[in-house]
């Protein structure tokens, strides 16, 4: 069973990438399972076409002893098994503990043993704000982590923090960094900056997702681009990314950057932004 998780700053495009990778892998006839670990609970929407009841919704209404796998596991596009961890309402309870509880419930329900998926993908809320969101890094839940980032300072900062989390758990489990996924959807689109960032972490960029209008169009229709525009270039990009991740054997323990090193990257981005203001040109790559 191939198991990996996707981390990255909130709103960076993790859910889009996970759902499209899952759909792409399912095209090959593999049994795929995705689990959203974000209280927002909308990663699987594009695979199913609607929101599904979350593990924590069912846990809350039925209690831990009477809930069943059928209550929380749903089949979506291409037969992808979809699970959403869910979470409390904003402002109450503990979302971090929620992730731990949901993962624990899935384990107790024996979902992995019953379905025997070829690949499991976890989609985890951006910044690893507390122990709960580091859950997929622990207990051998995933083999490796892929971090999505744009060329924005805050996204790079979050990616670096996630690497710190991976490093922290390195001594306790076998989780490693598989690579960086570059999402070109940002104000400054300069792949060389992310290449440099990845290199300093000791890893590589697994793939680059360019900005494409097909993505929001597909999502407006609650579909992945694999389903909505299977013959498009962007669909092929996701297919290539999915294959690259599944076949990736190059896993490393990241060396997180210091604040000074991060500042160095920020300065480069700032220079690019200034150039853009002065020339009026758009430094964004091919749109």
């Amino acid at each position: 069973m191939r198991k990996f998780c996707m981390y990255g700053k909130g709103g960076i495009g993790k859910s889009t990438i996970v759902s499209n990778i899952a759909a792409a892998l399912a095209e090959n006839g593999d049994t795929i399972m995705v689990m959203g670990c974000d209280p927002k609970s909308d990663m699987t929407r594009n695979l199913i076409g609607k929101r599904i009841p979350t593990v924590l919704d069912v846990f809350r209404s039925k209690g831990p002893d009477t809930m069943e796998a059928e209550d929380v596991v749903f089949k979506g596009f291409g037969g992808v098994y979809c699970i959403e961890a869910g979470g409390p309402e904003p402002g109450v309870g503990c979302a971090g503990r929620g992730v731990i509880t949901a993962v624990d419930m899935i384990d107790r329900l024996g979902v992995f043993n019953d379905i025997e998926p070829d690949t499991v993908i976890y989609d985890v809320l951006g910044d690893v704000v507390c122990g709960g969101f580091a859950m997929p890094l622990r207990q051998g839940l995933a083999e490796d982590v892929y971090i999505v980032t744009t060329c924005d300072p805050m996204a790079i900062y979050a990616a670096n923090n996630i690497c710190k989390g991976i490093q922290r758990f390195a001594n306790r489990s076998a989780v490693t960094l598989g690579g960086i996924i570059y999402n070109g959807r940002s104000v400054v689109d300069e792949p060389s900056i992310i290449d440099g960032f990845a290199e300093r972490l000791g890893t590589k960029v697994m793939g680059r997702v360019p900005m494409s209008l097909l993505v929001p169009r597909a999502e407006l229709r609650r579909k992945t681009v694999i389903e909505y525009a299977p013959d498009s270039e962007i669909a092929d990009t996701f297919r290539a990314l999915a294959t690259a991740i599944c076949e990736n054997k190059d896993r490393v323990m990241p060396e997180p950057l210091s604040d000074d090193e991060l500042d160095g990257i920020n300065e480069k981005i700032e220079v690019l932004l200034k150039e853009r203001e002065e020339t009026g040109s758009n430094p964004v790559g091919d749109v």
């Binding site: 924590l56 831990p64 309402e89 109450v92 309870g93 503990c94 503990r97 509880t101």
Partner: protein, 377 residues
């Protein structure tokens, strides 16, 4: 060793003997607080709990608290519910005040936040009493009366000690108005009627507050162990009230065991506990002539205490049930006098450790413990 703020708040709250304490905590905290309390008073089950489970941690415990308030109000015939929010709800940020304000109950509600990680047991005790101070009402002053502040319902020997202290003060012409926190709600409410607050170790913040609000002065005193300790205690209070009572005590009982006491002179001992410990040490070295080798308070490092005791000549240990292990390891007797005591009971309320009678009982307990201790045969 310190039980933390939650335990302190629970001990202060459960000392109001005719009201109900509602603990907003997971089951373990509730069990822990209750088990120490019920050892010597097994029918005193006046407390409820929200019993937070995983569901409450993830989604917040506010609904559980609301439901528990309504049910406790329904199940218990109590004028007051004392709600204590412990560690778990405060980590996840439950809005206790909003929940309390959202329900209309027959019982009055006083709530407090007492996360163990936010302070010591004494902090919890002090703050809980402050939260409860609003229950007090201005009352006409009763001449030559005092309140005793600092007790908890699960103190070892509390019933006997309070009875003895009341007796001694009564002999000096002083009435005890309220014992805090070991009294009825009505007794607590009318505390401002006293002429003087006597603070024994803890409860200073409440005394300060009462001084500010009711103009009631206070006196901080050591716990009255031993003949000298008790004489000083009664003398200082009577002086403060302008009574001028000359305390008298009977040394006859001690004469009967004089030879034993003579033999025990210079015995190396160690003492650990809350504020009771220092007063106990004063009795042991000042009156019995023991050598106190190690004296440790709740705020001190416990491991250091253990190490120091090991490296000393200690032959008797004075402490709580927690010291059973170290006493066993060192093969020395343990005399329990301080919270928590959960492996001995106090049923008879005329065998105190405080006051003159307490000095006799303590001396008897020490001699008997030494004489019958198997490990020393």
């Amino acid at each position: 060793m310190d039980g933390g703020k939650f335990f302190g708040a629970f001990r202060a709250s459960s000392g109001i003997t005719d009201v109900v304490v509602l603990n907003h905590v997971p089951v373990g905290c509730n069990w822990g607080a209750a088990i120490f309390k019920t050892t010597s008073n097994q029918f005193d089950m006046r407390h409820a709990c929200t019993v937070m489970h995983e569901r409450e941690i993830v989604f917040g415990g506010e609904d559980a608290l609301r439901e528990a308030l309504i049910r406790a109000d329904d199940l218990y015939d109590t004028p007051l519910l004392l709600v204590i929010a412990g560690d778990a709800p405060l980590i996840i940020g439950d809005d206790v005040e909003a929940v309390v304000n959202s329900v209309t109950l027959d019982a009055e509600v006083v709530w407090m936040e007492a996360a163990g990680f936010k302070g010591s047991m004494m902090d919890g005790y002090e703050e809980a009493l402050l939260r409860m101070a609003g229950l007090m009402k201005e009352s006409e002053t009763i001449e030559d009366s005092v309140n005793l502040i600092g007790f908890s319902p699960d103190d070892f020997k509390v019933d006997a000690d309070v009875k003895e202290i009341k007796r001694l003060l009564r002999d000096a012409g002083i009435e005890v108005n309220s014992v805090i926190s070991k009294c009825s709600l009505e007794e607590f409410r009318r505390a401002p009627a006293a002429e003087l607050n006597v603070v024994l170790g803890q409860g200073t913040l409440l005394a300060e507050q009462m001084k500010k609000e009711f103009g009631l002065p206070y006196l901080k005193m050591d716990y009255p162990y031993g003949l000298d300790g008790t004489s000083h205690f009664v003398g200082a209070i009577s002086d403060d009230l302008g009574i001028g009572h000359e305390p008298e005590f009977d040394i006859e009982p001690f004469k009967r065991v004089y030879l034993y006491l003579h033999e025990l002179y210079g015995t190396p001992v160690s003492v650990i506990g809350d504020f009771h410990a220092e007063a106990m040490a004063n009795f042991l070295d000042g009156e019995l002539g023991f050598n106190v080798e190690v004296l440790s308070g709740n705020e001190d490092d416990y491991f250091e205490f253990e190490e120091d005791v090991r490296n000393s000549n200690t032959t008797i240990l004075f402490g709580s049930s927690f010291e059973q292990n170290i006493a066993e390891t060192l093969n020395i007797p343990l005399i329990r006098f301080c919270y928590p005591v959960f492996d001995n009971v106090c049923v008879y309320d005329d065998a105190p450790y405080a006051g003159y009678r307490g000095a006799v009982c303590l001396t008897e307990a020490i001699i008997n413990t030494v004489m019958s201790y198997g490990g020393m045969k």
